[in-house]
């Protein structure tokens, strides 16, 4: 499930700069409607930038729901989760470019294993370096996150 959120436009700056550029660029797109959001057991914020996700290693428990909040520091990126062999994960979304809001993914794995996530939208020369891993454990011990997410 995917939820897109937009920040409110900074109207003043938009008017000044758009005026100076004689309409050379368009103002930010309107706020998009959200869809139903399941209750998440955890929230992990992930920042994408060429050619890195931060954090790029996350550990969660099976049968919990984690909300992955995704923002970009530069261009549009993709976010696809690839499950271990034999497990299909139907998550592949676009992360809006810098200052164009965020995207959220609700991920609720039931099977333990290593789930790779990767950029699925060509973002530059190092596009294929841009990946990370979600380790899903079966243990009931408190989850931990590597790489600095909350």
């Amino acid at each position: 499930m995917v939820v897109l959120m937009k920040r409110p436009a900074a109207t003043g700056w938009c008017l000044i700069l758009c005026g100076a550029l004689a309409g050379a660029t368009l103002p930010p797109v309107p706020i998009q409607d959200t869809v139903d959001r399941p209750e998440a057991d955890r929230v992990v914020e992930i920042v994408a930038e060429r050619f890195l996700f931060t954090p790029s290693a996350i550990t969660i428990e099976a049968s919990t729901t984690v909300e992955l909040r995704l923002t970009s520091e530069d261009t549009d990126h993709g976010f696809r989760i690839v499950g271990p062999d034999g497990i299909d994960v139907d998550i592949d979304i676009t992360i809006p470019k810098r200052n164009r809001g965020a995207a959220s993914v609700f991920f609720a794995p039931t099977e333990p294993g290593k789930y790779r996530f990767e950029c699925s939208r060509i973002c530059g020369a190092g596009h294929l370096y841009m990946s990370g891993v979600i380790r899903v454990t079966a243990a009931s011990s408190a989850p931990a996150t590597e790489g600095g997410s909350r």
């Binding site: 900074a10 660029t25 954090p55 790029s56 200052n99």
Partner: protein
Amino acid sequence: MEMHYNRPIGDPFAAPVLDFHRFVLLVSHRFSDRIHFFGELELEHSVVEGLEEKGELELEQAYVDFLVTPELNFRAGMMLAPMGIINERHEPPTFYGVERPFVDTFIIPTTWFDVGAGIHGTIGGKLRYRAYVMAPLDSVEFTGEEGFRGAAQNGSNAQVRQMAVTGRLEYVGFRGLTLGASFWRGDSSVTLIRLETPTAMIVADARYRRGRFEGRAQYAHGFVEGAAELNAAVARLTGVDPNVGSQIRGFYLEGAYSVLPRDAPHELGLFVRYEDFDTQFRMDEGDVTLPGFDRDAWVIGANYWLDPDVVLKVDYSHVRSQSDIIAGPRSLNLGIGWWF
């Protein structure tokens, strides 16, 4: 894509230049979850003509990735050498200045690409590495003025009696900070096969962004063993002594500040960069050191992002050299770069 306007200052014989510098096409294909292809085709200076010094059409990347685990993956094909900040991260909106840093031109010969194979991966989410074997440089193309620039074989019937080895280690454990270290080593005796020319380069670099501030630093140092013999051999071959240094070295420091609020629809960043680069940092005995190749430069300017993927650039560049005869070039530069 990027287009530049370069206006020399103080040189009555140099004309302003308007150049469509780079047109880049990227292509990617996913054969399966574990097998990916990536390609980058670049046209430089807009026109390619036979037998004339015009533009270049370059296949800078064309490789296949075989993904095994996050820690260990395999790659083969035409690849970028993992050297420094710019070579693998050169989209115009990602760096300040109309032109790439001089250190990334005269010391690290960006865009540095060649055929090869290797491994890459991430350890613990904080340490990233790549290690490749690639086609070596051709020492005949080394020069005293431009170091290793133009010496990559670029996968064009590259001679690989001995492969070069290269690698990079990156620490990304703190958000906003990237620390990198790269190396290259290989025998560059490609054309002059009887002359061993072991060549090496090490690079250390850092990028840091916090709030509105962004800073970069990079140090690069190249080594050519047997430079005197190389110079003598090339002089016999071509009639011109290239005066290649036994060591080349450069570094730069760059600071930038974003002056508009973060939620503004556009962004404006001001920057200043100091560079020091010497393509004859050390010379073998008997070779001629030219003070004009010991240079430093100040570059100041601004990037104005109409969109995160579209940037207008302006800067003033002042290169100075140790020469008392030849003044370093000064120029006013304008550019537009975009990416999609």
